[in-house]
Point group: C2
Chain length 178, copies 2
Amino acid sequence: MRVLGVDPGLTRCGIGVVDGAPGKPLRMAGVGVVRTPADADIGERLVLIERGIEAWLDEHRPQFVAVERVFSQHNVRTVMGTAQASAVALLCASRRGLPVALHTPSEVKAAVTGSGRAEKAQVGAMVTRLLRLDAPPKPADAADALALAICHIWRGTASDRLRQAVAAQRLRTPKGTA
Amino acid sequence: MRVLGVDPGLTRCGIGVVDGAPGKPLRMAGVGVVRTPADADIGERLVLIERGIEAWLDEHRPQFVAVERVFSQHNVRTVMGTAQASAVALLCASRRGLPVALHTPSEVKAAVTGSGRAEKAQVGAMVTRLLRLDAPPKPADAADALALAICHIWRGTASDRLRQAVAAQRLRTPKGTA
């Protein structure tokens, strides 16, 4: 199975694509970041994120999309931007009938390091080891997106077939004007 | 000028279309609500909101879009959904090269009632009067969307031509894969 992970953000949206299955070796299929200029209008930034994510989906054709679940305990302005960037990722995936899962940061950390409270560096180190990379992917948003994809491969499989079937079914309803 | 106002929400997204200019009578061109089922996946709900807003833009061809600015002083879960619905509205407008303005709830209240702290009923009453309607539009989200459009007509004109030119210019850049 191929999973595209998205660590949403307005300034940097981390993207990581991983192939794998529970109990089998993982392989990184791609990693990168969609960036938008901080001085652009919010609407334009969301359009740029949409174009970037669409390009990744077109190129890598994942079967699942995993997006980091946004919490609001942090800085309010940042959280709003993160929620808006995540909305674009969810929209792009759902529009294609791809099943989308949300994982919390602590679920992701626990999946790749064994501890939900692991530091960023530890997550980067485990991603590097699990994917047999030469160095941790940079920036951290890119490493986090890979960790998210790995988390999904290891956690998400139980209900994925059902979710995939339901998502595909729903998309068969009349398309309207979207 | 024709303005489409959006009061964003996942369950009910209010839409109001108003024609007018500062100092001239206002005319309601349309009002309604885009609804999504609370039991659907977040991705699907955003797809439904996108389809709904696209249908309104196709039918009414506004020159400007005004979206309520989301704040996070309220319930955290609600705010996340509101931020995500507003992202879809901003995306739909910006993708078409339409200039988008964000107005705060108190700016909208002040514009139509004279007080930034007006109650919902007062906003509804003034919208009804200003647009010469027989009764206040329901639900409140629909009335709020009309108030937002009126607010934009009265407040937003100074910088609108510049914004419109800039938005159109930026959209002429290569489209990528969006």
